[in-house]
Subunit: 493 residues, 2 copies
Amino acid sequence: MAKELKDLTKRADNYSQWYNDLVLKADLAEPSAVRGCMVIKPYGYAIWEKMQRQLDDMFKETGHVNAYFPLLIPKSFLSREAEHVEGFAKECAVVTHYRLKNAEDGSGVVVDPSAKLEEELIIRPTSETIIWNTYKNWIQSYRDLPILCNQWANVFRWEMRTRLFLRTAEFLWQEGHTAHATREEAEEETVKMLHVYSDFAEQYMAVPVVKGVKTPSERFAGALETYTIEAMMQDGKALQSGTSHFLGQNFAKAFDVQFVNQENEMEYVWATSWGVSTRLMGALIMTHSDDNGLVLPPKLAPIQVVIIPIYRNEEQKKAIDQQVSEISKQLKGLGISVKYDDADNKRPGFKFADYELKGVPVRLVLGARDLENSTIEVMRRDTLQKETRPLNGIVEYVKELLDDIQDSIYEKAYDFRTDNTFEVDTYDEFKEQIEKGGFILAHWDRTAETEELIKEETKATIRCIPLNGDKTPGKCMVTGKPSECRVVFARSY
Amino acid sequence: MAKELKDLTKRADNYSQWYNDLVLKADLAEPSAVRGCMVIKPYGYAIWEKMQRQLDDMFKETGHVNAYFPLLIPKSFLSREAEHVEGFAKECAVVTHYRLKNAEDGSGVVVDPSAKLEEELIIRPTSETIIWNTYKNWIQSYRDLPILCNQWANVFRWEMRTRLFLRTAEFLWQEGHTAHATREEAEEETVKMLHVYSDFAEQYMAVPVVKGVKTPSERFAGALETYTIEAMMQDGKALQSGTSHFLGQNFAKAFDVQFVNQENEMEYVWATSWGVSTRLMGALIMTHSDDNGLVLPPKLAPIQVVIIPIYRNEEQKKAIDQQVSEISKQLKGLGISVKYDDADNKRPGFKFADYELKGVPVRLVLGARDLENSTIEVMRRDTLQKETRPLNGIVEYVKELLDDIQDSIYEKAYDFRTDNTFEVDTYDEFKEQIEKGGFILAHWDRTAETEELIKEETKATIRCIPLNGDKTPGKCMVTGKPSECRVVFARSY
């Protein structure tokens, strides 16, 4: 592993290769035998589980419940909402048959042509259609509203170019689908969930995000408004990390979901949907990690503290074991996850490199001499700083250190984003700056034509119209036409 | 609802219809627009989540970790293990294309014939093949073993006759897949997980189970040995509730997974797999529920205690609210989930019927007169017994009551099973008894022919050769040939 670690590409040499190396070497995920589909390995899945658990708690605190809807969607459902079918029906996995049979030449199994489905089924790329078809039977009156459902599920989109976590054909996600009696309530829900996502990203992932609204051309297919959180990676590119959609009455109309309102009139139901996916793993990895491996925020680290003994004989080992047992017990009592790695078939140096690669936030090393001096060595993963501390009070120190790491990596990422966000007023400046990466705040005339031109010429897209940005009007950097406010441009994943 | 409740079919009238009514009316699940696939509604999913959480904790306590493997499996993988393909390749969902396109007549979308896959993909009916194909790259030496992975996932089997939770085309489950260096260790793991399942069924679901071994004809396709837990439903039929398979080296050989053992020799890896599914929901519902609706074990009830106020004016309501707030706080402090239903648009009688239907274990009713007398009405769902208790000490009383309900419903189910388990020595007796339902303990000559004959003539199958049964030898009730011990026969779901 110490050898393998050296093989981790440096960020400065090839950022993209560094990311891929890291995902593989830290045992997070790997490609599978099925094109575009990944295997999420136990260590990667343990991080995803911590993210899931926290998000699920936040959804429930905001009044949501979980449910489960079918994996397969009748083909005709996709056509019901005109924009939706354009966005999602094209690249998808199509189930056409329901049986295999033995090949006549004995070479294995073949599709049984007599088992052709009357109507093909699509593996869900997203579940608005099947869910709104279901909601039709759940909603008669305003008393049945709101419905605040979330689903944890796998979805499938036939992507041509895939990258582990960032873009895979199958991915895991949650999709919230809510139904409301009024437009106002649905709009409020859309924004509320955007804030749940940004709170999660900032407070748990330690990833600062820009909250904003997508331009019409970047909206979810079928939405009236798409809100987004956008994070900046260390190469200056943007990563869309979560979206929340105000769907208006589009899906209610497509699936004829009406209700009797308080005025006793029939009305179409108002909808939202919102989701985050295993893509968040990509954001987490790329925001904090370094040339030595992963850097994990303590709140999402499967192992928060690793303890490694250094000893020459069994007597020393026994004394260390005893001390570690006491420290572990106290740390666990504070809700801190601890691993004592006393495996004797690996050298300490190997273990050090391995836990650095895996991003364990705090490493404690206890040797025989430490015991004599009543000290212990503490290393924090984010800065790799080592110090020798008195054993007395070490548990409280580690607890504070974990909080400090959580805050520090957020601040580091926040400062990085600040240093790489630029206000630009001319298109020439823009073209120059975009090559260096980062977020560019510039004026835009709110036309799809200008947006498209900029995208074609610079590969930069409008990530969002920020909710909390400077609202000073100005002139479009390309056309000189009036602009209400600066928007965020970047190249993106 | 009070009206709808009356529509619940009585068990004695039509057990099968009662089950279906109950699943629908208690808002557990419903059929979907996709044949054979169900929608798991929020209340049903909340129960499943509690089951998942508990099982997941038990898996982790026994050293397992979670991971995630692809939904789709290349068709050729299924053919690698000869028995496996016979068992699973036949009725499955086959993905043949990866794109739709607009129909030329504008009628919607059609499959794009140019987007035909070279090799078809199968939606996983179970994941042994894709997982062992992955393990091949994870295992080189005995040091890489054991691998103790579990996956929470959806799977798909094209079932012709489906019933909510009991048999659906898509279902949710967990599948453990472990890899070991020795036969002994894999066999130990298989049995260990059987015990985890039976502990879960008995201690959490309050469902007594018979642990045993399947006959060769009932084995999992590709297994050397299949262990099972079998529960008895109230109609006397058996429900297979969980299985644990010793796979020997079959999948290692099919996917060429070898390792260097401690003697420095190449050897095939030993395997197990084990799973429980949303089918457990069916077992839970059918074991305890009655003609008034669900009866849930307190340990898995999403709401353990419901409190309903009865009042004539706002002043009374305010006094009740205050008292309830205190009780709720104390109950929650003990980790008990409480719902205070003070909705004023539903009559108390409607609420009573609704929470009975939903199986909430304990109902507290607090009225103005109760407040005057410092009393409260307590009803336990399992027996529907009501009593008036002093407010003083009510929290401790409820806590003990929940424990008592958990124990009582287990005992009730245990006694029911005992009363409906029969030792039978002749085939004539057997044929008579099987019509009345229940488990029959009888001698069998261990041949597939006799097993098949009994199945054809009586619709009874051998549920298992019980691990803890009477080991007295005897003579087969059909052929008179020697039998090592009695086995469990029953009709089954």
